[in-house]
């Protein structure tokens, strides 16, 4: 029986691995494909992801809710006495993500074959897209933190490649640099956290660390003094693991630093405050990329990471998550109110929705967070694809009529519902799901978060009430900006006609490569895919898959009151927005004032970061170089000069003192000798005379003495 089970597991693993590796194969193939543009590239990638999707469905069916974790690993490498494994870990969480990624990626691939077909570098595009899919799929099944980190960064790398796909545009390459560097901040946070966990628990294995009976939950924090045998470490308060193989302890601060590292990673990848500013800029990439990477999958990786390491967090840390998530949701929604770029509005909306997910993790609504991740993937991807169609059509208008307009500015749009009826309908459904009105999937997931946020505040001090209240407020802001977006794009008359009457319009929804993906994604926007009952999130099947559940019983009044309150007000807000914008007043609200500017300039985060981080770092680097040249090298050159001077000095000494002394000696000898030479003149009279003088002198001396 055991063997049989193992064989099944092996098969499941093989399926999962194939699902992961197929896109890699497509990447390699497309990379090596000669030429730059061939239809083949698109189909290779699409077929690969199609098979991945099929395989992942079967993996999902085998793993989901069986209560059985499929985990196999092989030795990757041994570093001294630490063995690092590589393997596949399939539990409910990874099975869900493994299913979600190819299912979202498939329509995007199909869409891309049409959307990108005029691009000169089609092969490169699909190669990158497949690389992304590979990294993302590998990320969700990776069983240890080193692998996880590797794919975490590869995901960021493929995003870097895709954001900068049109590398001749300065804005695009600036955006991808910014995205990568901000993600790098998160990466080093994650790396630090991994290192701390490894030091503490001596393993990288996710299952051992966070799985059932995990090491993390066995560790405790104590505030007493700990002295471990082996070497004297004394900490006033410690994070300690009592294990058979020996206890390990770190100062308590490192538990918080591990959390901070993971939080940075999440904030970078999932665009949370304070590292959110890269995501709106990343919209410089092709729209299909934005749909897949910057709305549905990659940005959700941060939430996935939270789910993976969830047992690590203590109550304080969870509260921090909740507050930051809530703040991010509100801030991004408030920015989305005033933006005019179609994709940027959606980007801020993504940030806002990710904020909900992080907040949900923080308040303990683990499953709701993942549920929202799944539903959001569908409707946000849908909305981006819609945006892609709209932008494409605007681009056509621009090119056909040689206009100088920004095809992404919603102020130029309007009235497109007649020209693009299919797009319009799916956009409405997607928009309603984003707002979270009943009968959509967004209703189920968002309301479950809101309800649980109210429950969470029970028994906490009044300040915490702000969290659910701000979250509520944010849903109304969401209702407003979504309505504004849809009305400005689809209702009324085409704005361009007011500016330039008589322009030619050839607009259409596009062929099946556009329509099929949209239709496919719409299925995920309605309740029926997730729950039989459109009103009760508690009955959604996703909730049955995770242990860390809360708020499933309709135990209190929140379960009825919150959805009703939220939705009635949302509808009112929507009507208001509709009423305001459909009348096509140019600027129904004053375009000035502190609040407007704050929102329009995205709370000035970019400017602030530029001033207080980027510039000082550059100044510091210039200073370092100056220091290097002037001080260190200056010192070295000074030494060299000193050496030279010393050499000159010694040469001088040699010449004038040492040699001089010798010359002096010579001179003295010469003087003495020439003095005596005087006496040796060879005249006898002279000799006689001198003898007489000496004898006289002797006598005188004798007499005197």
């Amino acid at each position: 029986m055991n063997n049989f089970l193992q064989a099944i597991d092996t098969l499941t693993i093989k399926f999962a691995l194939t699902a992961v590796l197929l896109p890699l194969l497509a990447f390699v193939f497309n990379f090596l494909l000669p030429g730059r543009k061939s239809k083949l590239a698109g189909w290779i990638s699409t077929v690969a992801i199609l098979f991945s999707a099929v395989l992942s469905v079967s993996v999902f069916a085998k793993v989901w809710n069986t209560g059985h974790v499929v985990h196999q690993q092989v030795i990757w490498f041994t570093i001294s006495n630490t063995v690092v494994y590589a393997g596949v870990l399939l539990n409910n969480l990874s099975a869900l993500m493994l299913l979600l990624v190819p299912v979202i990626a498939l329509p995007v691939h199909i869409y891309s074959t049409a959307y990108m077909k005029h691009d000169g570098n089609l092969n490169r595009y699909f190669a990158y897209l497949s690389l992304f899919c590979f990294s993302m799929l590998a990320l969700v099944v990776a069983d240890n933190l080193v692998l996880f980190y590797a794919f975490w960064e590869l995901v960021g790398f493929s995003s870097y490649l895709l954001v900068g796909f049109w590398f001749t545009r300065d804005k695009a390459v600036q955006a991808n640099k910014k995205a990568f560097i901000m993600n790098r901040i998160g990466d080093i946070g994650l790396l630090t956290a991994i290192i701390i966990l490894f030091t503490m628990f001596h393993t990288f294995d996710i299952e051992k660390l966070f799985g059932a009976g995990n090491l993390v939950s066995k560790s405790t924090t104590i505030t007493a003094k700990v002295i471990l045998t082996g070497h004297a470490t004394t900490y006033s308060s410690s994070w300690i693991l009592f294990a058979n193989s020996g206890n390990t302890a770190l100062p308590i601060i490192w538990q918080y630093i591990a959390f901070a590292g993971i939080f940075l990673a999440v904030a970078a990848k999932s665009a949370q405050f304070p590292l959110h500013t890269w995501l709106p800029d990343a919209m410089e990439g092709p729209t299909s990329v934005s749909a897949l990477i910057h709305a549905a999958t990659m940005v959700a990786a941060g939430v996935f990471l939270l789910a993976r390491v969830y047992p690590l967090f203590n109550d304080t840390e969870l509260t921090i998550l909740a507050v930051i998530g809530c703040f991010t949701a509100f801030m991004a929604a408030s920015i989305a109110l005033t933006q005019t770029d179609l994709k940027r509005i959606l980007a801020y909306s993504t940030i806002s929705q990710l904020g909900y997910m992080v907040m949900a993790m923080g308040i303990g609504a683990y499953t709701s967070s993942l549920f929202h991740l799944v539903t959001h993937a569908f409707f946000k991807c849908l909305l981006f694809l819609v945006a892609g169609i709209v932008i494409h059509q605007m681009q056509h208008i621009k090119e056909d009529n040689q206009l100088d307009i920004d095809p992404q500015n919603i102020n130029n749009m309007g009235g497109l519902r007649k020209k693009l009826p299919f797009t319009f309908i799916v956009a409405i459904i997607g928009g309603l799901a984003l707002i979270g009105l009943p009968f959509t999937s967004g209703f189920l997931s968002k309301d479950s978060i809101l309800i649980q946020s109210f429950q969470w505040t029970d028994g906490r001090s009044g300040v915490f009430k702000l969290v659910p209240i701000v979250a509520l407020l944010t849903t109304w802001l969401t209702a407003f900006y979504v309505t504004r977006l849809i009305v400005k794009v689809f209702f009324g008359e085409l704005r361009l006609l007011h500016i330039k009457p008589g322009i030619k319009l050839h607009l259409s929804d596009g062929n099946w490569q556009y329509k099929l993906p949209l239709a496919f994604l719409v299925i995920g926007c309605v309740f029926s895919l997730f729950s039989i009952n459109p009103f009760l999130y508690e009955q959604a099947w996703i909730f049955k898959g995770f242990a860390a559940n809360g708020g499933l019983e309709r135990e209190n009044v929140y379960h009825s009151l919150v959805p009703i309150g939220v939705n009635i007000l949302s509808v009112l807000v929507m009507y208001a927005a509709y009423a305001v914008y459909v009348k096509r007043k140019a600027n129904p609200f004053p375009q000035k004032g502190v609040l407007f500017n704050l929102s329009f300039n995205a709370w000035y985060f970019d400017a602030i970061y530029n001033q207080i981080i980027v510039k000082p770092v550059l100044v510091l680097s210039r200073f370092a170089f100056w220091f290097d040249r002037r001080v260190i090298d200056g010192f070295v050159n000074l030494l060299a000069k000193a050496g030279l001077t010393l050499a000159k000095l010694s040469a001088w000494t040699d010449r004038y003192i040492v040699d001089g002394f010798l010359h002096l000696l010579v001179e003295i000898v010469r003087i003495i000798s020439s003095f005596f030479r005087v006496f040796q003149a060879g005249k006898v009279q002279y000799y006689l005379f001198s003898m007489l003088v000496i004898i006289l002198a002797l006598f005188i001396l004798k007499i005197v003495i």
Binding site: F77, S80, T168
Partner: protein, 514 residues
Amino acid sequence: MPSKWRGSFKYITLLATLVQLGMGIWIYCNFKSGAAFGGINHEGQFQFMQKLPWINLDLGTMGKMQIDYFVGIDGISVTLLLMSSVVMVIAALASWEITSNLKGFFVLFLILDMAVIGVFCSLDFFLFYIFYELMLLPLYFLIGMWGGARREYAAIKFFLYTLFGSVFMLLVMIGLYLSVKDPVTGNHTFNIIQMMNPANYEQGSVFSILSHQTLFGIQARTVGFIILFIAFAIKVPVVPLHTWLPDAHVEAPTPVSIILAGILLKVGGYGIIRVCVSIFPDIASANAYWLGLLGIISILYGALNALAQKDLKRLIAYSSVSHMGFVLLGIASFTTEGISGAVMQMVSHGFLSTMLFFLVGVVYNRVHDRGINHFRGLATIMPKYTVFVMIAFFASLGLPGFSAFIAEAFSLVGAFKSPSVNGLLPYWMAVCGSLGILLGAAYFLWTLQRMFFGRLNLKGGSVWRIALTDLNLREKIALAPLAIIALVLGIMPSLVFDKINDSVLALVQFMHLK
């Protein structure tokens, strides 16, 4: 050789390096691993050993002077040896750009090659020192005669810097020689392995552990360690002894830059492990904090300097300083992870810096300019070149899947583990080290953005536009293996770790024996 064979010199050199590479691969494949082959302080555990009496002067009553031709390799040297032979082949390929005085160039090149391999193999300090000094001379002429505009300054600076270190090393070497006796023959010896054993020190000699002799009021062993460390730290280079490096690199021709960055810097790191730490383990572990601190300073300071550069080659030179800082940090941790990471980093940086300098050489040969601001949008006219640049840059900034990631990550793991394993380094050092990874991303990506992306805009206008052709076959042949090696080592780091593990374990064990 007559000079009419001028055209064939480069082929002969290439052939020689290829043969050397073949031998390197053979040695690597036949290198046995296992606890019985740890090396470090056990003479019997070295492999491919050769020991011949070389200089045996009978000094009458003072015994015999014993200098052996003693070579052998253990896990630490084998990977560096193979790496060096690969780098030499690439450097030979890069030498195609040399046009003047070919005979002299290739003669010096091969002498240098011999000296480098000699350093990595010698186990006799005297032999080691001779090879070590032998590297200097050819390099001095290679930079001084085939270099750029300020070549004399750079060459002299390089030469004096390194000589400064090695002259004092000579003193320590003689001191060690006088302190250590071969237990078998009873003679004084230069045998490095016997210098590691405290029992071999003569009672009351200068460097004996037990006698606590002092020089200038400091423990003699500390003085010895510091002097040896400075000698090797100049080579690594460790801030603040690094300023010869940017000048030497900027002025040196491409093949010499490749050898400098790819191999010479590793000689420093290798020397620290083989000589400094192994002979003075007590002092090394007592001063680990300062070693680690210097490592951190090198990482951050090098990275910040790189960020400020306007010359591509100088940028890469400073990035070398930063990356070699990880080596020092890893060694300073004295944990198995840290030292393995450090060796891995040396191997990985050997390949990657070779690649980077080769790539700089490509663009410099075409237009004789390297100013980062003078180019823009190169990706449009040199797509293949850009692909290689991206591989090299991303591999260098530690993208997982390439070798540098594993190396840097494990250096940091080692550094972080150190306080709880042996209490040598504080926790914050690892955290600061990881900031270097962030800065690495910043300067490489900024360069990519400025030079390769955006609209095409060259300082030299249409002349440059014509001159800047994409990679030719020779360049592709040189670059492709490097890219593949970097990738393979990143995916299968066991290729390196399997060979070095036993030696690293032996070293760490030896360190704790004291």
